[in-house]
């Protein structure tokens, strides 16, 4: 193994990693002003903060991916110079960054060879993380996002890190895999290593972490031990204000939407995974989609968005059959798609404004002069409604991960929605914004929009949806009303454990 843990020093100190007064500015954006963090042996430390608080930047600094403007880092009590990710790895700090850091044009084994990772150890961890039959000659570019996250993690684990840094690893993972990740991370700590864990999901933090360091606007604002009921306090530290974390009000019992469905999907099939999906989506309704990873939900959304041709079945919009050859057709029919992978939706070098306003110019008849005032107002409204942090708005790639995610949603808010296809829209979005997104989705529905809402976080279903279809093995196996949508029920259905109650 390459990580050179010095056996002599392990007895000297318990502190694995200590970073003090770290600051970093990107031009005018002060990502970190005064951040500090300590990790001791056997500890899982949560790094918490709203979108754009500076968590990822902190991780990148600790692991040498970017240089800090100032600050002091000690590793196992010794001052450390971490000039590059390679150096960090040699010092025992191994990160899993927020975005996959695998080489798309190489296969898995070459990716491992690049960092001198032992393939057998890697395979062990991949199996541990629910991917026992991963083929090492699979090209990275062909793999789904969730698998990439697991490969990233297994690779990190295989180099037996002293401190493992996980930046929103679970955001793109389905529930079953999240559990495995938590178990493995816990085991790391129990083996006497340290883990830094970033997530916007309190349930995960509560289940896994011992302590939380909270960042607000680039500054460390406190360190708290995780204990039951600590949630509100952390949120207050994160946001500098109290917010209500309560469940959606009991207005779940809204009148059933009647009349003709906006979208009727019948026996839809699409290669490779979707076999048979049927459901109706009514105006004014938020229909959840629940599925484990790779059950055909990707294909379902892609067919509806015009990105993939169906192999069978029909799609009807307002009673008329629809066949989309291009996303433009779907958009023209009112179907607006927010993909799960934000990299697919964003123009990295372009401004927030352009990213949001792009659909206004899409059609050839809008190639003439831009309607600047109209556009500005619409964009401003979307930014406002989603609370997008626009400090680095000149280029979307400079926004924090969560704010990038919001831009992908904001685009269709600005454009107006009739039918919205949301694929895991709260990926990497912080608590406060999540609490704003659910009502926003509901509000859109209230205004007559129809929303199809896939989520990897089961707890979101009762908060945002009216009903949820459960997909297993490419088929719709269950349709659950929001009132009945307990996590347990959804979970059982997602594993195919209920007998189909008949698809609508």
């Amino acid at each position: 193994m390459t990580s050179q843990t010095d056996p002599m020093s392990s007895g000297v100190t318990d502190t694995l990693l200590d970073a003090q007064n770290v600051a970093k500015s990107f031009g005018a954006v002060r990502a970190l002003t005064d951040a500090s963090l300590t990790v001791r042996r056997g500890e899982v430390v949560a790094l918490m903060g709203a979108n754009g608080a500076g968590k990822s930047t902190f991780v990148k600094i600790l692991t040498g991916a970017i240089r800090p403007d100032k600050g002091r880092v000690t590793i196992r009590g010794a001052e450390a110079r971490v000039g590059s990710p390679a150096e960090a790895r040699r010092s025992g700090l191994v990160p899993v960054y927020q975005e996959p850091s695998l080489i798309p044009d190489l296969d898995i084994s070459d990716n491992l060879r690049l960092g001198d990772t032992n393939a057998d150890t890697f395979r062990h961890w991949a199996a541990e993380l629910g991917h026992p039959e991963l083929r090492l000659d699979a090209m990275i570019r062909d793999l789904p996002l969730a698998t990439l996250r697991i490969i990233d993690l297994a690779r990190a684990l295989a180099s037996t890190p002293d401190v493992l840094l996980l930046d929103e690893l679970t955001a793109a993972l389905p529930t079953d895999l999240v559990e495995r990740v938590l178990r493995v991370a816990r085991q790391q700590a129990e083996d006497g290593r340290g883990v830094i864990y970033i997530s916007h999901r309190f349930a995960e933090i509560a289940a896994l972490c011992d302590r939380a360091t909270v960042l607000r606007d680039g500054r460390s604002v406190g360190d708290v031990d995780i204990a039951p009921g600590i949630e509100d306090r952390v949120v207050e530290m994160m946001l500098g204000a109290r917010i209500d974390l309560g469940q959606r009000a009991a207005e779940t019992a809204r009148p059933k939407p009647g009349g003709a469905p906006r979208l009727r999907v019948q026996n839809l099939a699409a290669a490779p995974k979707l076999i048979d999906a049927s459901f109706d989506l009514h105006p004014g309704e938020v229909l959840g989609v629940v599925a484990l990873e790779g059950q055909g939900q990707d294909e379902l959304f892609e067919v509806l968005a015009g990105m993939r041709k169906p192999a069978g079945g029909t799609v009807e919009i307002d009673g008329a059959p629809a066949l989309f050859r291009h996303p433009a057709d779907a958009i023209a029919a009112g179907l607006k798609f927010v993909p799960g992978n934000r990299a697919e939706a964003l123009f990295r070098e372009r401004s927030v404004r352009e990213n949001i306003a792009m659909p206004f110019s899409a059609r050839a008849r809008a190639w003439g002069p831009l309607r600047l005032r109209h556009e500005k107002a619409r964009v401003a409204e979307a930014v406002e409604r989603l609370q997008i942090d626009t400090r680095a708005q000149g280029e979307v790639q400079r926004l924090s991960g969560g704010n990038q995610q919001k831009v992908t949603i904001g685009r269709w808010l600005a454009h107006g929605v009739e039918t919205l296809l949301l694929f895991d829209p709260t990926r990497g979005i912080d608590v406060r914004t999540k609490r704003q997104i659910y009502p926003l989705v509901r509000e859109l529905a209230g205004q007559g929009a129809a929303v199809l809402y896939y989520t990897s976080e089961l707890a979101e279903v009762p908060l945002a949806c009216d009903r949820a279809v459960v997909i297993f093995n490419g088929c719709v196996v269950d349709i659950v009303e929001a009132v009945d949508a307990t996590e347990e029920r959804l979970m059982r259905a997602a594993y195919g454990l209920t007998s189909a109650e008949g698809a609508a």
Binding site: R67, V73, H326, R350, E354, P359, A362, W367, P369, L370
Partner: protein
Amino acid sequence: MSDIHPQAETQARPIVRIGRFLKDNPVIPLIALLLLLIGTLELMRPGIISPFWAGNTIKFAIPLAMLAACQVLTMLTGGIDLSVGIVATASAFVAATLTPLVGPVPAMLVAMAVGVVVGVVNGFGTGIARVHPLIMTLGTGLIASGCLQVYQRYVIATGTDIPAILEWLGTGRTAGLPNGIFLFVPFAVFVLWLMRYSGFGRLLFAVGSNEKAAQLSGVRSWQVLMALYVLSGLIAALTGLLYLGMIRAPSLSLANPLMLPSVAAAVIGGTSIFGGRGSFAGAIVGALILRVIETMLTLARMPEGARIALFGLIILAVTALYVRFTEQR
């Protein structure tokens, strides 16, 4: 250890503010570099900087800047147009040889049609058949030059004539400035407007930045590429006409030497060949910079090898300085 030079409180420091201003307006440091080069030229040959010289420099920078516009626009989408040199040449040659046969206006129309035809083929290849633009435009360039060769055999003895309007544009002066600016200024305004304030311009950036995302926003990229390459062909043909008026010697390689410099002007001006980033204002200054360097070297007395090498070194130095100023990548 990571105790880097404390750079805190950066916002207040004026030097940083200037840096930021330059970053947002990358054409300003480029203009500063241009002025620096002009100063050097004046030191080399005191007295050369005169309205006459300025007029000439601008005159010869215009066709270069126009072809650079083709490169900037196509590069925005991650493409390039290597057929512009031959399209300009063909347009000029066709116009000059057809004028005695059919009169100036139809001749110029046919010349512009050459640009459209090549543009349509390029647009089909890149937008629909998905051929890499570099290969596509290289290929159409070859095809076009072959067609030009075949064409010239039929007009060897018809004589040539240059439409008066082109001679006026190409050789005339108004108040010391070349008449070419009457064509160029509206053209530049149009291109700048197109890139900044039109839906089409925005789509160029979008297609180059992330084609999939553009698709997801409802953009049919083949339409954009088709229109783009036709536009590029038209600009190239127009440049050919202007160049014909300027040089007044229709030749089978008239505008070919402008090809590589047009790419150079675009990239010096801060346009990325990988798409999503580009500036026509930068390309205009880039064209002027190239012309000034050429003048410097034409007047310098040194072996030709040293002259050519120095040309490269100055380009490198200018762009390196520029990148240092603006920190853009």
